[in-house]
């Protein structure tokens, strides 16, 4: 009887989730087996069931693989960089030598809460090959000017730089919370045993932070695979499609060309992939910390 009452209490939330989440997801899954496009929008007879045809077409589409490769590049370089920067800044903020901690913490967290489009405009100025601050600074060091957003080899590094700057503050705050929860007694014991600062970090801080690092990794990787807004506002996928991500590809398929069937297939392929990567990570983490 008590169980039934419980169901009644969660029913409104379940209905909302069902109608606004699971139903659209199922509809999108069904859509991914059709060639829904503007012709089908005009006349239902123009809709063809293509089975796994959209998926098969994507697997042989050079641009899809290009987008996949670009996204992988972004994840493989961006995630470690982002986690490292977050951890480093968290350690600095946690240091006892630091004054004005609140000010620094706010300043470093600020990029996370700024509007992406507004800061993207500022970063476009910074990246400008002729008048940009970045090339000016590099010029002082004797490095020749880089066409950050115009050169296919540099556009993705520029996007990574921008994304890491924009996002590291979030993980930094999580790390700060983790650092605060490490008992001071462990450090005291290590110091008594004569451990240097590096060995304290290596043998006390890192092991104690490990579960948090694992969680941050999972969240950051899943988030970075969904790269979209940065190339959308900075490069529109160019130059030479070097910054087309999987989601950007999906957006163009779906909302620029109205191939909603194909776009849905892209979404499900990305979902399956992120799901697989996350499952693998969780298994690795469990195996690593198994007693």
């Amino acid at each position: 009887m008590r169980g039934v009452a419980g169901w009644w209490f969660v029913a409104p939330a379940l209905v909302v989730i069902g109608v606004f989440f699971f139903l659209p997801v199922l509809a999108a899954l069904a859509l991914s087996f059709t060639d829904f496009d503007i012709y089908a929008l005009a006349d239902g007879r123009n809709l063809r069931l293509v089975g796994l045809g959209n998926y098969a077409a994507l697997l042989v589409s050079p641009l899809f693989w290009r987008a996949f490769g670009n996204t992988l590049y972004f994840v493989v370089v961006g995630v470690p960089l982002s986690v490292a920067v977050s951890l480093a800044t968290a350690l600095l903020l946690h240091s006892r030598l630091l004054r004005l901690r609140g000010v620094f913490r706010t300043a470093l967290f600020a990029p996370v809460v700024t509007t992406l489009v507004a800061v993207a405009v500022i970063w476009r100025y910074l990246f400008n090959p002729h008048h940009g601050l970045l090339n000016y600074a590099l010029g002082l060091l004797g490095v020749p000017a880089i066409d950050w957003l115009g050169d296919p080899n540099w556009a993705m590094p520029a996007i990574i730089l921008f994304a890491v700057w924009k996002n590291f503050g979030y993980n930094m705050v999580i790390f700060l919370a983790g650092l605060a929860s490490i008992p001071e007694a462990l450090y005291e014991a290590a110091r008594v045993d004569g451990a240097s600062a590096w060995r304290q970090f290596r043998h006390v801080t890192l092991p104690m932070l490990a579960p948090i690092v694992a969680m941050v990794n999972v969240l950051t990787i899943a988030g970075y695979f969904q790269l979209f807004a940065e190339p959308y506002v900075m490069t529109q996928g160019g130059p030479l499609q070097s910054t087309v991500s999987v989601l950007y590809f999906m957006y163009e398929e779906g909302f620029k060309w109205w191939n909603l069937g194909s776009a849905s297939a892209v979404a499900f392929m990305l979902f399956v992939f992120i799901f697989g990567v996350t499952a693998l990570q969780l298994r690795l983490a469990r195996w690593q910390y198994a007693p």
């Binding site: 496009d37 012709y39 929008l41 005009a42 123009n46 090959p129 115009g150 529109q236 130059p239 030479l240």
Partner: protein, 390 residues
């Protein structure tokens, strides 16, 4: 849409005074959101009675069967006279033999150039043919310092290449838009000339985002020729100092042998099939089509009128920088009228950029474009075949 939406609001009180009983509600939307908004309005059965439509979107909305054919309205109209409109522009509104829009303002691409710099290179007149253009580009480049170029062709714009292609005898698509026609000699000639301008160093390899300010760069002489549209007449007048206004002007696009064609662009006024106020909507289209109203519209927006009588206006006729557009408009051709065109144009831009950057040779670029266009047109072929069978 855009600036036009604001100006229309100022013209409407007069229309409502002449037509008591008709009240017009204007909804302004930005260009960037317009396409998506129109398609969702169609899907949600919430289309307007009348709207402004970029003429490359007409085939798509016609394929949706969203637009009302206007042939009967035009036949019975004393205001809208088809023969007074530039033929190429009028043609963009015809899909499969039916008329779906009335041109409202026009847009095409032609040459903006620095008169003083061209004269310094030894040429008093702008080029009329590709050969003359080649000679001028080479001469200008020979005198230019290394950071300057003879012409600016941003790689993220497909329009200059499309214009060169429309100058050829071969059509862009073949067999009623069923297949790409990029392997044709015409397209290969156009692409070869386009690539030549980069390979010889006449045009810099860059996207327009890398040009921080195209108008000041033009004023500083960083490039002499620029293929662009009518909006830049206003921009250059506004942004360049008075002393420099005499240094630039416009010219029709040179063709393979003598003056060449360019793209028929612009916006039309269309009526939606589901509208319950079609008679009133047509009255409004007629109002905006009067040469006198078009002149006022031009004065407020700078948009060029689609009717020859509107161009007879003394102010417009005396405008030296607009005159080249008047001449070019007699030689404009529509882009292929298939709903898939924007997507094919996007592939054209992508493959052309690859060819310019040297990652794909010319012959392969042409084959690749055909393969991509044919894949995009697959559904169209299927639908045309089914329609033929029925």
């Amino acid at each position: 849409m855009g600036r036009e939406g604001e100006v229309v609001a100022g013209l409407l009180p007069e229309f409502e005074r002449i037509n008591p009983g008709i009240r017009v509600k204007v909804q302004q939307i930005p260009w960037t959101a317009a396409h998506e908004k129109l398609l969702t309005a169609f899907a949600g059965d919430a289309t307007p009675d009348l709207c402004q439509l970029g003429n490359t979107w007409i085939p798509e909305l016609a394929a949706l069967d969203a637009l009302a054919p206007l042939d009967a309205h035009v036949a019975g109209s004393s205001v809208v006279d088809a023969s007074d409109y530039f033929a190429g522009i009028w043609d963009t509104n015809r899909v499969d033999g039916r008329l779906y829009g009335v041109p409202w303002y026009v847009d095409t691409r032609l040459l903006f150039y620095r008169r003083d710099l061209l004269r310094r290179a030894g040429f008093a007149e702008p080029p009329r043919s590709w050969d003359e253009w080649r000679r001028m580009l080479a001469a200008v480049q020979a005198q230019a310092p290394s950071d300057r170029h003879a012409i600016l062709l941003p790689l993220n714009e497909f329009e200059p290449l499309l214009a060169l292609m429309l100058q050829q005898d071969d059509s862009v698509l073949r067999d009623n838009g069923r297949w790409g026609n990029f392997a044709s000699p015409g397209f290969r000639r156009a692409l070869a000339f386009y690539l030549e301008m980069f390979q010889r160093g006449w045009a810099p390899v860059l996207v327009s985002g890398a040009v921080s300010n195209v108008w000041t760069d033009f004023a500083r002489g960083r490039f002499v020729f620029y293929v662009s549209g009518p909006w830049n007449i206003g921009e250059l007048r506004r942004r360049l100092p008075a002393a420099q206004q005499e240094t630039w002007t416009t010219a029709p696009l040179p063709g393979p042998d003598g003056p060449g064609a360019s793209i028929a662009g612009g916006s039309s006024l269309v009526m939606f099939r589901s509208s319950r106020h079609q008679a009133a909507a047509w009255r409004l289209i007629e109002f905006f089509s009067q040469p006198a109203v078009q002149r006022r519209f031009h004065a407020a927006t700078g948009d060029l009128p689609p009717r020859r009588t509107a161009w007879a206006d003394p102010e417009l006729a005396a405008d030296a920088q607009a005159r080249a557009f008047r001449e070019q408009l007699e030689r404009v051709k529509p882009a292929p009228k298939v709903p898939e065109w924007e997507r094919i144009a996007n592939e054209l831009r992508v493959v052309a950029e690859q060819a310019v950057r040297g990652t794909v040779p010319l012959a392969q670029a042409a084959r690749e474009l055909d393969a991509r266009a044919d894949r995009i047109l697959e559904k169209r072929r299927w639908i045309l075949a089914r329609r033929a069978a029925e």
